[in-house]
Every structure is written in structure tokens, then in C-alpha cells.
């Protein structure tokens, strides 16, 4: 192997390779030696340095205007443009991506805001309708209460329910009846207050009574009612009033 290296170094293969005057096959063989043997590589590197030194010894100052001529011959615009356009493209992509994200977020926010406002508007509309309905209802109640044909009847409890206090408003012309339950004494859980109308001697149920915080309750109007009665009945109400359970009544 050592002999091979010596023989190789003794040949002019390295010199020809350095000057680029060897054939392709010779170049491959020389590269193999350079890559394989550090001794050959060192020799090659040393030769290259010698070549550079030798060439430097013959350096001549190039004409002053040659630099400009040389550089103007170099088609660098392509690279400059490539870099320039690449930079613009990258910048544009970044801006586009940022704007896309911005508008996406903005649109989502606007949609959310729009939904919220729509919901608020629906709620407000509903609230207004409810208020109008209440106003209309109150107006009707007020009209009825102010109507000269409306009669006011106070039902006070007897000894069984002294605290019971209700006021009934009845308009026979308009066939309307309202009741305001002011106070009802407490009852056991299995009991309730039930209202009746005596129509031609028959007791007709008008419903279960509950305290209603000064709100007027509509009562089914009964033609030819002779009296209104309140009885204590089992929870849920009764079909017929229990005998002896009347706590209040008023006769017309």
C-alpha cells in the first residue's frame, strides 16, 4: 500500500488534477487517493497553497474600470429579483395570513355581537308585548272597576276563618266577575279554599282560591247567581261543597 502511495505521488496525477488537465477516469482515481490517504491529501493541499503563492507572486493590478465591467457582466439581477420577489412573496403571505386571521376573528366577533343584539331585541320585543298585554289587562280591569254597573262585594270570614278577607267585583251587564283575595288563614296541607256560586239553588264551583298579592283574578261569571260562597274543601277541590264547611258568603 505504501508503495502504491509512493508511486502515485511520484506520478504527475496530482498536478494534473490540480490544474484540471486530467481525464475523468484519472480524476476519479486521484480523488480516491485523496479521500483515502491523509498523506496524499496533505500533499495535495500543500500543492494548492504553493500554486496560490506562486500565482500571487505574479499578481498585477487589474485596470481600475475592469471591476465595473466584470460585475456588469454578471447576471445577478435574476438572483436579486428572486430574493426580492421571494421576500415580497413571504411578506405578502404573512400579511395575507395575518389579515385572514384578523378578519376571521373580526367576523366571528361581529356574528356573535349580531346574535347577542338580535336576542336582546327579541327579548325586548317580548318584554314590550308582555308589558302591553299587562297594561291592556290592567286597563280592562280599571275600566271594569270604574264601570258604574260594577258592584263591589266584600267577603269576610266567619268564626271559622276570621282573617279571611276578599273583595269581589261583579258586573252583570258585562257578565264579568273579579275577585281580589286579600288574606286567607292558613289551612292544613290537605285542605284548600274553594269558591262557589249559588245558581238557582245549586252550588257551582268557581275555582280554588289562593292569596294573590292584591292581584285581581277573573272568576267564571254565573248568570243568575244568588250568592257567592267560600268553603274549606279537601286539597284539589270538591265537586260539591262539604256541608258545614262555609267560611264566607255573600248574597246578591
Amino acid at each position: 500500500m505504501k508503495e502504491n502511495i509512493t508511486t502515485f505521488l511520484a506520478s504527475d496525477a496530482l498536478e494534473k488534477y490540480m490544474l484540471g488537465t486530467c481525464t475523468e477516469a484519472e480524476a476519479k482515481q486521484t480523488e480516491h487517493y485523496i479521500d483515502t490517504y491523509p498523506e496524499v491529501r496533505d500533499h495535495y493541499n500543500s500543492m494548492q497553497e504553493s500554486l496560490e503563492s506562486f500565482a500571487q507572486m505574479h499578481a498585477m493590478e487589474a485596470p481600475a474600470d475592469l471591476r465595473e465591467k466584470v460585475l456588469s457582466d454578471i447576471p445577478v439581477i435574476k438572483v436579486v429579483k428572486k430574493t426580492y420577489w421571494m421576500q415580497i412573496a413571504v411578506a405578502a403571505s404573512v400579511i395575507f395570513a395575518a389579515l385572514s386571521v384578523f378578519f376571521f376573528v373580526k367576523q366571528n366577533n361581529l356574528l356573535q355581537e349580531n346574535n347577542t343584539i338580535s336576542q336582546e331585541m327579541r327579548d325586548l320585543k317580548l318584554s314590550i308585548e308582555q308589558n302591553n298585554s299587562q297594561i291592556s289587562s290592567l286597563q280592562n280591569e280599571l275600566n271594569m272597576l270604574n264601570n258604574p254597573d260594577t258592584r263591589k262585594y266584600v267577603l269576610n270570614g266567619n268564626e271559622k276563618a276570621r282573617e279571611l278577607q276578599t273583595v269581589a267585583y261583579i258586573n252583570t251587564k258585562e257578565r264579568l266577575s273579579l275577585i281580589n283575595v286579600l288574606d286567607l288563614p292558613d289551612l292544613p296541607e290537605e285542605k284548600c279554599y274553594q269558591m262557589w256560586a249559588n245558581v238557582d239553588g245549586e252550588m257551582v264551583s268557581l275555582g280554588i282560591l289562593e292569596i294573590n298579592n292584591n292581584k285581581l283574578l277573573n272568576l267564571p261569571y254565573k248568570e243568575n247567581a244568588l250568592s257567592y260562597n267560600i268553603t274549606i274543601e279537601p286539597k284539589g277541590g270538591n265537586k260539591k261543597p262539604t256541608e258545614g264547611s262555609t267560611v264566607a258568603n255573600i248574597a246578591f
Binding site: 506520478s11 504527475d12 498536478e15 490540480m18 490544474l19 484540471g20 488537465t21 480523488e31 493541499n45 500543500s46 500543492m47 494548492q48 497553497e49 504553493s50 500554486l51 496560490e52 503563492s53 506562486f54 500565482a55 500571487q56 507572486m57 505574479h58 499578481a59 498585477m60 493590478e61 487589474a62 485596470p63 475592469l66 471591476r67 465591467k69 466584470v70 460585475l71 457582466d73 454578471i74 447576471p75 445577478v76 438572483v79 436579486v80
Partner: protein, 185 residues
């Protein structure tokens, strides 16, 4: 050439960055122009050769392989081959009698040499003329070993051995020069 600068230029070449050309020109143009002139022995041809060499350098930038050759070796090859082609296409070579005049080494561009090269140049005198003849013939005259053998009237084996010894001696001279600079500094 500093290893750092060379590595930087090589990196720019690999990236096809045009700044590489400017750096190569600023750091190698005088040496390469000297090479081109030594081969063509004509100002106009040397300038043409250098211009064309730089275009080739730029076009071949991507193919440069730092593992196969130092940057200067690669630049030298391109400039040398371009200058030889220029000379041949100008039909000058046919009429030219090969002159292996060692005085070329000393006389050409003496006044235009850069100061840093003058010091190096002073040391070329330490290299025996017979080695310089061979190096000139092979490196600058574009001769093959056989042509150099005939032109210098020495056996082919002698050309080869003088080339080897010349390069080795040149290395010694250069090393001494570097050592001297280090000592002075």
C-alpha cells in the same frame, strides 16, 4: 487568503449570492489578472479573459465543491483555461514562439504589483530558476508536460520532478516568508 473569508465566499457561492462575485474580485482579481496576463501577454486579451472567467465563475458557482479543490485552485483553473482559450482563438499562439523567459517573472507588472505581493515577490528569487521555468510553462503557458519538456529541452521525467520539487521549494519559501512576517509583527 484567510480561511474565514474563503469560507464566507464559498458559502455565498453555494447560496448563489451575487455578493460572492464582488468579494472574489476584491480579493483575487489582481492575482487572476496576473495569471491571465502571463498566459496571453496582452492587456486586452487578459481583460477579456478575466471578464469571461468571472461570468464562468458565477455560472459554475453551484458546481464548486470545496472538498475537491481550494477556492483559489478552482478560480485559477477557470481563469487559466479561459485565458488559454482566448489566446488560441486570437490565433496568437500559432505565431508565438514559446518563450520561457524567466525575466517575465520579474519584469511583468513590477510597477503595478500590490505592496503585499512585492514582499512575496522578493522571495521568489530564492526559488531556483530551473523550477520557475517549469512552473511558468505549466501554470502560465498552458503547456502540457510533454510540451514543456520539448520547449525547455529537458527530459519529460525532469519536467515532472522539477515541478514537484519546485512546488515543494515554493512552499518552503512561502512558509519562511510567513514566519518572517509573524516574527516582525
Amino acid at each position: 487568503m484567510s480561511t474565514f473569508l474563503e469560507a464566507h465566499i464559498v458559502q455565498l457561492l453555494g447560496e448563489e449570492d451575487e455578493r460572492a462575485v464582488g468579494l472574489i474580485y476584491d480579493n483575487y482579481a489582481d492575482t487572476l489578472y496576473g495569471v491571465a496576463y502571463k498566459i496571453t501577454k496582452d492587456d486586452a486579451l487578459a481583460q477579456d479573459a478575466l471578464q469571461e472567467s468571472f461570468v464562468k465563475i458565477w455560472k459554475k458557482a453551484a458546481s464548486y465543491d470545496a472538498k475537491k479543490a481550494k477556492l483559489f485552485t478552482w478560480l485559477f483553473r477557470i481563469t487559466r483555461n479561459t485565458a488559454i482559450d482566448k489566446l488560441r482563438s486570437a490565433n496568437l499562439r500559432d505565431d508565438r514562439e514559446i518563450q520561457i523567459d524567466i525575466s517575465d517573472v520579474y519584469n511583468l507588472g513590477t510597477t503595478s504589483l500590490k505592496p503585499e505581493h512585492l514582499d512575496v515577490k522578493d522571495h521568489i528569487g530564492n526559488l531556483d530558476e530551473k523550477y520557475q521555468e517549469v512552473l511558468n510553462a505549466l501554470f502560465f503557458e498552458g503547456m502540457t508536460h510533454q510540451e514543456a519538456s520539448e520547449a525547455l529541452d529537458v527530459p519529460l521525467g525532469t519536467v515532472k520532478s522539477r515541478l514537484k520539487i519546485g512546488l515543494r521549494e515554493l512552499r518552503k519559501v512561502f512558509n519562511c516568508f510567513v514566519l518572517l512576517i509573524i516574527l516582525v509583527l
